[in-house]
Symmetry: C2
Subunit: 273 residues, 2 copies
């Protein structure tokens, strides 16, 4: 029987999804757990590789197993033997021709930031720290330039050899949330100090979290991390909306922003027909 499962993992401790010689991969940890539960070596195929340090909130996999455990009970058995930083959230029977990788129609990634003068240890493992305010309005305008079907070569890691770099990005949404704590609010001296960092048009966007959510039919290597880095440059005023339009048309990686670190990237959802 073929099974489809949704898994979540904190990527910090892994070399990425795919088995590697240089360290423990999510795939290896998961396949070892599946073998313990099913009593036979079990290969797991994911919707796509996630790089070292990238997190998943809704990665989809498929695997084949012969078991008397009902599909909806498999996560309880597998989670009992998985490390705490990997979890199976859901499992269901799938048709024999279901392939988590080749049947995937669209994926949503979120790149998570927090805007705060100083590091926030509770967010730092899963969010990138940006120590200055960002102009979210300008970032949202630039995001519109990215939506659509384009040759996204400018957002592909240099040195990639993929021939077809045309992809469709269905949406790029930017949402802000409050930080778990803002001691500044209760401390006048710090409040008085904030303007030093404050861009008056964006002041209310400092001391918050920012999620850059990107949905597309597929992504080039490092594409979401480069899109996030480009939008952050727009938020800082280092790039204009026009610069982003030109970067896409130019297909020139050097005109886009920097690649942000893996720790802020989260695979949120994979959709199938």
């Amino acid at each position: 029987m073929r099974y489809k499962a949704v898994i979540s993992y904190l990527g910090s401790g892994y070399v990425g999804w795919q088995r590697q010689l240089n360290g423990l991969s999510v795939q290896q940890a998961l396949e070892e757990a599946l073998e313990k539960v099913f009593g036979a070596p079990t290969h797991a195929t994911a919707s796509g590789r996630t790089d070292a340090g990238v997190h998943a909130e809704g990665q989809v996999i498929h695997f084949d197993a012969e078991t008397s455990i009902p599909a909806e009970k498999i996560p309880f058995a597998v989670n009992a033997v998985l490390p705490d930083d990997i979890s199976m959230l859901l499992c269901e029977e799938a048709s024999e021709d279901f392939n988590a990788r080749f049947c995937a129609k669209r994926k949503t990634y979120a790149y998570r930031l927090y805007l705060s003068r100083h590091r926030r240890p509770l967010l730092d493992p899963t969010h990138e720290h940006i120590p200055v305010p960002l102009d979210l309005a300008a970032m949202r305008e630039a995001a519109k330039e990215i939506e659509g079907t384009h040759d996204f070569k400018c957002f592909e890691a240099a040195g990639s050899v993929i021939k077809n770099t045309v992809r469709t990005v269905y949406s790029v949404n930017i949402s802000a949330g409050t930080l778990p704590i803002v001691p500044l609010a209760s401390l006048p001296s710090e409040l008085a100090d904030v303007p030093m960092f404050l861009n008056l048009t964006t002041g209310e966007e400092f001391n918050c979290t920012v999620d850059i959510s990107v949905t597309g039919n597929g992504f080039l290597y490092n594409m979401v991390r480069i899109i996030a880095g480009t939008l952050v440059y727009v938020g800082m005023g280092k790039l204009s909306v026009e610069d982003v339009r030109k970067a896409i048309l130019s297909k020139d990686r050097t005109l886009a922003g920097k690649t942000l670190p893996a720790k802020g990237l989260h695979l949120i959802e994979v959709r199938y027909d």
Copy 2:
């Protein structure tokens, strides 16, 4: 000069605030950083100890130092030498008689839970996992019984020797938030499966985060973790609101709920005059 600072830390890797022989404490890591910055041994006093594994989003400390670094720049210097899981969010000059411990007037702790059938690796380091729905309405009713000035001996760790166990709890608030992801929404088979776990009156409270926020003038040993455990039992129907009233009047620890794990406890804010 005396300084007041707000610090945040992820407690997972520490034996607690206070220096211990059995491992690294937040106090030791912080004092080592202060010594590097000020060039002299510097003692830090916190508003109170936090236990091994407990997190802080707004712990307040004081220390004395002779330095030419302006107070508002001290966090940049200290954070440059602190490990990533500790951060100084704010520093200001304080009067010589300011004492972070003895001048504290009220503290707010949050006990963070997530309600989900399966473990969520991105929340698990800082939240306690509750795999069943909770009746938040009943928990809020029980919380009202805890507010006020009472002898809270029933919420004190057994074996404590403090004589005066009367404290004032100003508020106990329970708030729910959505989980970062709910794959169930996009997966019919899982949706169909949910009722197995669902208490119809509280179904909408499953697959969410729950914060139990407690503000008081002081807390007994393990008091917030026992209050949280007691309210979770109310949410599960293991204890009634009346049982909580009786537990407080009885001063009997055995009538309250269990002590929840340290990893869900966060010191949020300490207030002074």
